[in-house]
């Protein structure tokens, strides 16, 4: 056990390095670029024995990683925002061919408008593409979830790639003191890579990903769905092993002071750290509030959410992505589906978009509104919780008459 000062990107790199990947193909994009840089430094110094492919786009980055892992070695890439969007087509290839790649995604909003900062819109746009998605609250979780992701993804009952999502700048660039275990223990935990399903090997040839007719496509998607069904159990098993070996507990959904809470907020990512602080602060004031922190978004933990929230009468769900055109954002919609048998009042909140900080003030406001709703003192809530009043007028220009 050793402590290191690392930022989120550094923690992701540390986990990738300790997983002993043998091919790296990363393309720079803010706020992920230091992952690409640090990995190349490790390869140049020999600390990581890997082939570093200095790719010319993210589409190529994931294509190289997928083909490399099909050829039998662990491959690493990482991206954010526009890069993830550009990779979209290949994201489907990786999951459809059951290639268990682990990829850090530094969450940054999607253009337009251009942003460089934290927003879950990029990961949400990929949520149906057949990858697992884990969201980190802090830098320790970035390391821990990346290490666990290798075990879960490569499990023969899962064989599904995983995105480890960390908020841009808030986690990627924030230094925290984290505990890095010994390489030996990580080796024991992750193990060497064994290509378990389809592979490119001249000793055992097969053709991967040729045309599939409508008589078999459904079955292949069903195989993927079955893998997601299996994955919850595998994640629980791996989390338990991780706790035993490394001493840290991570839940699929963490119920923070939810047992006796009057109202609960459901959220993803780094804002959960702030939310826990607010929960504590409001509890000192005698307000019984709680937080359901969702760590595993894919597979969607409907059972875990139901267990924590079924008796709660008023629930708030915070989407850090706009979910445009929907009745609400992705986290809210899926939480409602999970709780459809319960008669809870589930309120949708959107905020923290494009790097806007989700502050103590914002979260307090949410909890207070939820409490007022529970007490019957309020009917409506402020859905876009941090939007400015002059939203429609923030640009006023002189135009030709």
């Amino acid at each position: 056990m050793a402590y290191k000062m690392l930022d989120g990107n550094g923690a992701a790199v540390e986990a990738i390095k300790m997983a002993k990947v043998q091919v790296v193909s990363a393309y720079p994009i803010t706020p992920q670029s230091t992952i690409a840089e640090k990995l190349s430094e490790l390869v140049a110094s020999g600390e990581l024995k890997a082939e570093y492919v200095r790719v010319e786009s993210e589409h190529t980055a994931l294509s190289v990683a997928t083909a490399a892992q099909l050829a039998g070695v662990r491959a690493a890439t990482a991206t954010a925002s526009q890069g993830l969007a550009l990779m979209h087509e290949v994201v489907g290839m990786t999951s459809g061919c059951r290639v268990p790649i682990v990829m850090p995604v530094v969450n940054r909003g999607l253009a337009a408008p251009w942003t460089l900062w934290a927003d879950h819109g990029d990961s949400m746009a990929e949520r149906d593409m057949g990858w697992m998605q884990f969201f980190c609250q802090n830098v320790q979780e970035v390391y821990d979830l990346t290490v666990m992701a290798y075990r879960v993804a490569e499990d023969e009952n899962v064989l599904t790639p995983a995105m480890v999502c960390l908020d841009g700048f808030f986690l990627s660039h924030s230094m925290q003191k984290i505990d890095i275990p010994e390489q030996k223990l990580v080796d024991e935990f992750i193990g060497p890579y064994v290509a378990k399903n389809s592979y490119l090997d001249t000793e055992d040839p097969m053709f991967i990903c040729n045309l599939t007719g409508s008589d078999e496509f459904t079955e292949m998607r069903y195989q993927q769905k079955t893998a997601f069904d299996n994955s919850i159990e595998v994640i629980e098993k791996v989390q338990k092993e991780f706790e035993e070996k490394f001493g840290r507990k991570l839940d699929i959904v963490e119920g923070y002071k939810t047992e006796d809470a009057d109202v609960v907020l459901v959220a993803l990512g780094s804002m959960c750290g702030t939310a826990k602080y607010v929960v504590n602060k409001l509890r000192e004031q005698g307000k019984k509030v709680g937080l359901a922190k969702v760590t595993v978004f894919r597979p969607f933990p409907f059972k875990q959410l139901e267990d924590i929230l079924s008796e709660k009468k008023v629930i708030g769900v915070f989407d850090r992505s706009a979910g445009l055109g929907g009745q609400g954002g992705p986290l809210w919609s899926e939480t409602c589906a999970a709780l459809k048998k319960c008669d809870s009042d589930i309120r949708h909140f959107v905020g923290g978009l494009g790097g806007r900080d989700v502050t103590i003030v914002t979260i307090e406001k949410i909890f207070n509104e939820l409490l007022e709703i529970k007490e019957g003192k309020r009917e409506t809530h402020t859905e876009w919780i941090d939007v400015k009043e002059n939203a429609m007028d923030i640009r006023q220009v002189e135009k030709n008459a």
Binding site: V23, V90, T202, F207, C209
Partner: protein, 264 residues
């Protein structure tokens, strides 16, 4: 490993779903004859994908992967990197893409691989349009050729893939044609032995898209070179060599009159 349900001469079966008289089918057999079993092939969607197969069946006896249309070169690079990481430098990694998947949508990945000097063998079979999707023009379609997206004839000339490769200064690039199989096979071997990226740009006439009777495929490929519409040359370590210079170029009509897409 493969369930072998068919006995064939060579690494491709005899019954492949290519059109009768397909120049590409002739090409891939000769390529596989030279490359042999210690090869991994990347084939994007397109005419060659009919060799990847359908459902459980495949027409290729070596390991292969069908990626996306843009990333043939990228997937080949990935396989090469993995093999290198495992200490395997003997297996050939070949990307086999059409003109559309190379000079249009595939150019970025190919350019990246060439700039990085990744050791892949890239073969572009040029049937001068997006044939598999129904004969739509690509940037390799020649001037005035009629396609389904240039029905009145393509108003512009074609992108010069060889010049692009030369601009990247790769160790070996060559044009070839399926009418001169000796020259073709020699070039496949040279490309295979290159220590670095190599590119073969092969002219593969297409009876369906160019509108001629299938029997004329080899004759048309020959006419292309004799009229100067296709030039056989190599770029090797910085030097250009023209492999065949007809004493006198045959008149252009000899090439045009054979094809419905050019006759108008």
């Amino acid at each position: 490993m493969h369930d072998i349900k068919h006995v064939s001469k060579g690494l491709m079966p005899h019954g492949m779903s290519a059109c009768a008289g397909c120049g590409l089918e002739l090409l891939i057999r000769k390529v596989m004859d030279v490359l042999g079993e210690d090869t991994i092939i990347i084939i994007p969607p397109g005419c060659a994908a009919s060799f990847s197969g359908y459902g459980k069946e495949t027409s290729i006896k070596i390991p292969g992967y069908q990626g996306n249309l843009e990333n043939t070169a990228a997937s080949a690079v990935g396989v090469r990197a993995a093999l290198n990481a495992k200490g395997n430098t003997h297996t050939t990694v070949v990307g086999f893409a059409g003109d559309g998947g190379t000079v249009d949508i595939g150019i970025q990945a190919l350019s990246g691989a060439m700039e990085r000097r990744d050791k892949i063998l890239y073969i572009c079979y040029d049937n001068e349009a997006y044939m598999n999707t129904g004969i739509q023009a690509s940037s390799s379609t020649p001037y005035m050729a009629s396609t389904t997206t240039t029905p009145a004839g393509k108003p512009t000339g074609r992108k010069d893939l060889m010049q692009i490769a030369i601009a990247h200064d790769i160790p070996y690039a060559a044009t070839a044609s399926i009418y001169n199989l000796t020259d073709l096979k020699k070039k496949v071997q040279k490309a295979k032995d290159t220590d670095g990226p190599s590119l073969l740009h092969v002219h593969t006439p297409c009876p369906t898209g160019w509108r001629y009777a299938p029997a004329k495929t080899v004759e048309i490929a020959r006419a292309a070179v004799q009229t100067g519409c296709w030039v056989l040359y190599e770029y090797e370590n910085g030097e250009v060599t023209i492999n065949y210079k007809p004493k006198e170029l045959a008149p252009l009509e000899d090439y045009i009159k054979l094809q419905g897409r050019l006759r108008g």
